[in-house]
């Protein structure tokens, strides 16, 4: 006779977790830690514990939404398994793809921000006016004041929407720019190619 096992219901969330769940549920955008602490009457330690409890509640495929840390705050997000059905229901479509020119311009702004259009053009070697305008229209970058240099050019910076669409909790989550530096071998190859081109064009 097999031993009878009684399944216990999972322990219910504590009051703090329920409160932050309610606030995140009603918030129109990701809610930062400061807002959660002040609205729910929690200190830093209490918030961390409550968030952990809430995250445990929503993990493990038990719900159609998950709790994620994104764009400087916490938000509910549809789980990948349920995305298709939500798209069918809400008619939501994916944001348009970004062209290489847009991604390059965005990368320059993301790493050098706040930065000017001239600096973006200098890095890319081509005028980037159209690209920056398109990025502003898509809400990925925004104007952030004027440079204190001759001409007082407009400064650009990334937005919270940029963090959200690229799955970043904060700007610090961007990989280090140094990671993308060319290796010595790659630099030598580039130099050799340049020299070869120059030789070919020499009269």
């Amino acid at each position: 006779m097999p031993e009878r096992v009684t399944l216990q219901p999972p322990p219910s969330m504590d009051d703090a977790a329920r409160r932050i769940e309610a606030v995140i549920f009603t918030a129109p955008r990701p809610v930062g830690r400061d807002d959660l602490m002040s609205s729910c009457g929690l200190d830093d330690e209490g918030l961390t514990a409550a968030l952990s409890a809430l995250q445990r509640e929503y993990e493990g495929q038990r719900h159609g939404v998950e709790l994620v840390e994104i764009a400087g705050g916490h938000a509910f997000r549809v789980t990948p398994a349920c995305e298709e059905v939500v798209r069918r229901f809400a008619g939501a479509r994916r944001p348009d793809d970004l062209s290489p020119a847009l991604l390059e311009s965005l990368a320059v702004v993301a790493y050098l921000q706040p930065t000017t259009r001239a600096e973006v053009a200098q890095v890319r070697g081509v005028s980037s006016e159209w690209a920056l305008t398109a990025l502003v229209e898509r809400g990925l970058i925004e104007e952030g004041g004027r440079a204190e240099t001759p001409g007082a050019a407009i400064l650009y910076r990334t937005t919270d929407r940029f963090l959200e669409l690229f799955g970043l909790r904060r700007l610090d989550d961007l990989p280090e720019l140094a990671e993308f530096a060319l290796t010595v071998t790659e630099t030598d190859e580039l130099r050799s190619r340049l020299l070869a081109n120059a030789e070919r064009r020499r009269p």
Partner: protein, 270 residues
């Protein structure tokens, strides 16, 4: 980089601009036009980043809005804009123009500069590719997007409780043409300053001296017009005004041409 301004023309540096109020608010520059030109010449603002067509469009709009047409300022503007366009055009041909002038050491230096620029670009290009992967993975994720219900907001505006038709009712009276104001209390002046000047000149020519009280109309406003006409005659040196004491009647006597005209009239009549 100074050498790259080949063809900018020394005349461009010598043109003095007088665009005190010509201010441009561009993406790469916010300030007066002459400063923009100076910064371009100093290469502190990249000419490639300045849309000359935008400058021209802004200027033409400004001209259209202005009642005055300053030929000199507009001529200077056209000269400077033409020079900027020439600079841009020549830079397109830099490669060919510079081929003859570059010696081997310059060529090496230019090559190194290009290499540094390409290495930097390659770094950002790789970063962009990584960003692209992140975008492909995360851009389609669906977040809870729901505005906070109005009743949960700390303070709802009074307007948010009004029905939409209430807004229409409030706007309609504002859109109606207001009734013409009642101006019946304003006296319609029978005389103008020009008319009074003409009349007083005639009197000076025919009569010579006269007093203000003798020639002024009865209406107070018209009297004021006559007084202004007398002051104008005095300013122009056509009449002399005198009083024996303050607030006494004003005696008007002809001076210069007016006196001569009176003498002519007297001679003709005599």
């Amino acid at each position: 980089m100074g050498e790259r301004v080949i063809g900018a023309g020394p005349e461009l540096r010598e043109v003095s601009t007088t665009f005190d109020d010509l201010h441009f608010d561009l993406d790469v520059f916010d300030g007066p036009f002459d400063l923009l030109v100076t910064l371009i010449l100093r290469e502190e603002v990249d000419l490639w980043e300045v849309r000359v067509s935008r400058l021209i469009a802004d200027y033409v709009l400004r001209l259209a809005d202005s009642d005055e047409f300053d030929l000199e300022a507009t001529s200077h503007f056209i000269v400077l804009v033409a020079a900027l366009l020439e600079m841009k055009s020549r830079r397109l041909l830099d490669e060919g123009l510079l081929d003859d002038g570059l010696d081997e050491s310059d060529e090496e230096e230019a090559g190194e500069e290009l290499l540094v620029a390409l290495i930097r670009y390659a770094q950002f290009k790789a970063a962009a590719q990584r960003l692209g992967h992140g975008y492909a993975e995360h851009a389609g994720r669906i977040y809870r997007r729901r505005p906070i219900p109005q009743r949960f907001l700390r303070s709802g505006s009074a307007g948010s409780r009004l029905p939409a038709f209430g807004l229409v009712d409030a706007l309609v009276p504002l859109l109606r043409e207001p009734p013409a104001p009642d101006v019946s209390h304003i006296t319609d002046l029978a005389v103008s300053l020009v008319q009074e000047l003409r009349r007083l000149r005639g009197l000076l020519g025919r009569r010579g001296s006269f007093t203000f009280a003798a020639v002024a109309p009865r209406d107070r406003l018209e009297k004021a017009v006559t007084f202004f006409a007398l002051l104008e005659l005095h300013n122009r040196g056509e009449a002399r005004l005198s009083q024996v004491r303050p607030f006494a009647d004003i005696t008007v006597t002809p001076v210069g041409a007016a006196a001569a005209a009176r003498d002519d009239v007297a001679a003709a009549v005599g």
